[in-house]
Symmetry: C2
Subunit: 454 residues, 2 copies
């Protein structure tokens, strides 16, 4: 390296001193010398903007750094680290930083999932770098590998465990046989679930990260609204047990994949095909030997399939103040090195505009749980119905058998059936499920879970 | 991105058209448009230097690109991809490229493991970029994450399964109970082992990669000679079975870790401590729940422990023409993007000079296999000997019991014992093993394996 000019200083502004921000500040201060050696310039933390200067912090930080005037702080900085979260005032401050010519490092997945595209364009136009590794999968380097290391490859599919709360809950249910409610209570007790866990358990957090991963992986731009999202609240202990018996595990996955489907009728290329990308979040059955099945507790992992590289997986802690701070500091040092070397920063490339495909375009395997009358001929009627709708059955297992109750009204006993299909389209599967619900011998459809990795 | 000047062309020279080179050429030609869109300039393959223009190739490539004059080709190029392997003429050609101001992308682990330091310095001095993701762990992005994503963190330990041949063999032995010889034969049959597998099974290949990983992870420079290396040729089916019984798996790991040891006597800071790095390759026992234990067949994975990020793992295919080509192309596009944007390329940072510590500095747990006389008092004598040498025993299990043979000379039956120690230094363990060998009740020490991940 050219002899580093260690008297050169870069002014760093930190917006937010919460869970992650406090750790970033701590590391910038405690490791200032090591960071300076690696960067080639001193990273001087010149201010920390917060809403309430007197709020208690996880880390003891110099009182004189705190300010409530985030805007003024941004205008003094070479590098702005935005860790406030939320849409505003984060968006406005990021735009001010870009306008001022400051490099921006953010972890704001919610903002990027809805507004990423316009922010990336503005950063590119201003020739400033906007980095956001911390927005997806905490400590795990994933965005930089996708953008840079796989720049010469073609990603075909991304499957991510990107929400630690839901992975902990499902893993707990799998390990202990607990109900969803009990596992959620344990997650809350241990701090893996927030007081209001809605964003996590309904899959919205995973969906935001899925949109960001999809955008980078497929060189086009997806937003939260493009993601088909289903959380884990309907997953039962029975589903988990049946999965386990059959050699599967249930994970909440964010899945982005390139698909080629018949072009819509009436479209210019009707009769031809359309290639696009589907982005979805839902509970998914995976074989227990799949690398993603070995991801326990609140850990995250992103599994990528690329044309040349084949299968790759990136694993680590998806959240937490200090792990996420690692991702922030990686972006800060990388961007700062570029400022020291000179020359324009890296830009976002959007080279394709692949259309968003809805979940209807997806073909996958399904596992359907049924509560059916335990009578002769039921299996035959169910099979026939599937066949009518063009869905082939791979396996059918009876998992529970309940005897006729002597006191009941003469109805027979019932059986719980698990049916795994061959690959089928969402549309045909939905039609099949509707038809099954109409059969008199079916008490209820207890679950419909998609199956991947087989 | 600023409107890409797609009429701008970068001249790419390829040195070598073997396993990996042929695939790199294929991708450069087949995906020229997609690569141009991502790079912002056309990547024009202007020549492929080989020893024998008429040799059969894995891929059909345009005959007019081939040349035997590598030196002339290098001098025409903006980007030189070296995939010849071996020390010379690769080293000379890389130096010519650097002198000529061309960006260099290489996969040459053997060369980098012995000569990396001087090549990095020359590239830095000439302000050209030297990238080598393909030199370690095939398709898996690992060097870029370490260098860039973890730039703001402090790595404390790296444990890698970086040789597919040995991982396949050990995994085969674990899955099927095969002997080492049979597993090696199967590996050879399937193409996971070369005709002469020495470099792989003796651990030299893993050691070269370990040196490169250690250099990047600890911001200092290690060479092949700094690595304590032991291969898998002494691992037996009995070792694997005993490990399995106890809930462990055996993997060949390259381990680089930062250690603090008492300073040597007579040194300036005698009485103080020395912090350095130990780099070693040897068969290792890991708990079956460890993420590295889920790495099967010829897959590779690198497990990193960092101060802020915590545990991370990068998993994927460690070898193969097309997977490795992905890593090469990632480096090519990344470096080319920089050439298009302008400004100096990234440089290597060596900010520390952490001393190399030999394996004597390591403290770890050990699993020792003994063939002992099956007599009363033997366990007591063994325990006493361990205690004398300061090594604590964690568990002792008798795994096999052989009856006294009626025809033998009156000696008793024998027992196979497996002893797992608490953490102990290499020195005390070595002394213990030597003393044990001297006991009359010990027939032989059948194996000594280090244990990690517990």
């Amino acid at each position: 390296m050219p002899a580093p000019d260690e008297t050169k200083t870069l002014k760093v502004a930190l917006l937010g001193a919460g869970n992650v921000g406090a750790q970033v500040a701590r590391i910038l201060l405690e490791d200032a010398d090591a960071l300076a050696a690696r960067t080639g310039a001193r990273l001087e933390l010149v201010g920390i903007a917060v809403r309430n200067v007197h709020a208690p912090r996880d880390v003891e930080l110099p009182r004189e750094l705190f300010t409530t005037d985030a805007s003024a702080l941004v205008r003094r900085a070479d590098v702005v680290i935005e860790l406030m979260g939320g849409l505003e005032p984060a968006r406005t401050l990021i735009l001010e930083a870009i306008e001022h010519g400051a490099t921006v490092v953010t972890g704001n997945k919610a903002l990027l999932a809805v507004d990423g595209p316009s922010l990336y364009e503005k950063a590119d136009a201003a020739r400033v770098q906007l980095s956001y590794e911390a927005a997806v999968a905490g400590a795990i380097p994933i965005l930089r590998p996708i953008r840079d290391s796989l720049a010469g490859d073609k990603i075909t599919r991304v499957m991510g465990i990107v929400n630690g709360t839901t992975n902990f809950i499902l893993d707990q249910m799998d390990t202990t046989g607990a109900s969803f409610a009990d596992a959620l209570a344990e997650a809350t007790r241990l701090g893996y679930a927030e007081a209001d866990p809605t964003a996590d358990i309904e899959g919205h957090d995973a969906a935001a990260k899925g949109a960001i991963l999809a955008s980078l992986s497929f060189h086009t731009r997806f937003a939260l609204e493009d993601v088909d999202c289903q959380g884990i609240t309907a997953v039962t202990a029975g589903d988990i047990a049946a999965a386990k018996d059959a050699g599967f595990v249930i994970k909440l996955l964010a899945i982005a994949e390139k698909l080629t489907v018949p072009a819509a009728e009436g479209a210019d290329d009707a009769g031809g095909t359309t290639t696009g990308v589907s982005v979805r979040v839902h509970p998914t059955l995976l074989p227990r030997e799949h690398p993603l099945a070995a991801v326990h507790g609140a850990f995250n992992a992103v599994f990528i399939e690329a044309e040349s590289a084949g299968e790759l997986m990136f694993y680590g802690q998806g959240a937490g103040g200090t792990p996420t701070a690692s991702a922030v500091l990686g972006d800060v040092v990388s961007a700062a090195r570029r400022l020291v070397l000179g020359g324009p920063g890296r830009t976002e490339t959007t080279t394709g505009v692949l259309p968003v495909l809805g979940i209807d375009a997806v073909t996958t395997k399904y596992c359907i749980g049924l509560d059916a009358a335990d009578q002769p001929g039921v299996l035959a009627r169910i099979s026939a119905l599937f066949a009518e709708h063009g869905v082939s059955i791979e396996t059918m297992r009876q998992t529970v058998h309940r005897e006729r109750d002597a006191h009941d009204d003469g109805a027979g006993g019932s059986a719980e059936l698990r049916i795994v299909t061959h690959r089928a389209s969402e549309a045909s599967l939905a039609a099949t499920v509707e038809a099954i619900n109409g059969l008199d011998v079916i008490n209820s459809v207890t679950s419909v879970l998609r199956v991947e990795g087989v």
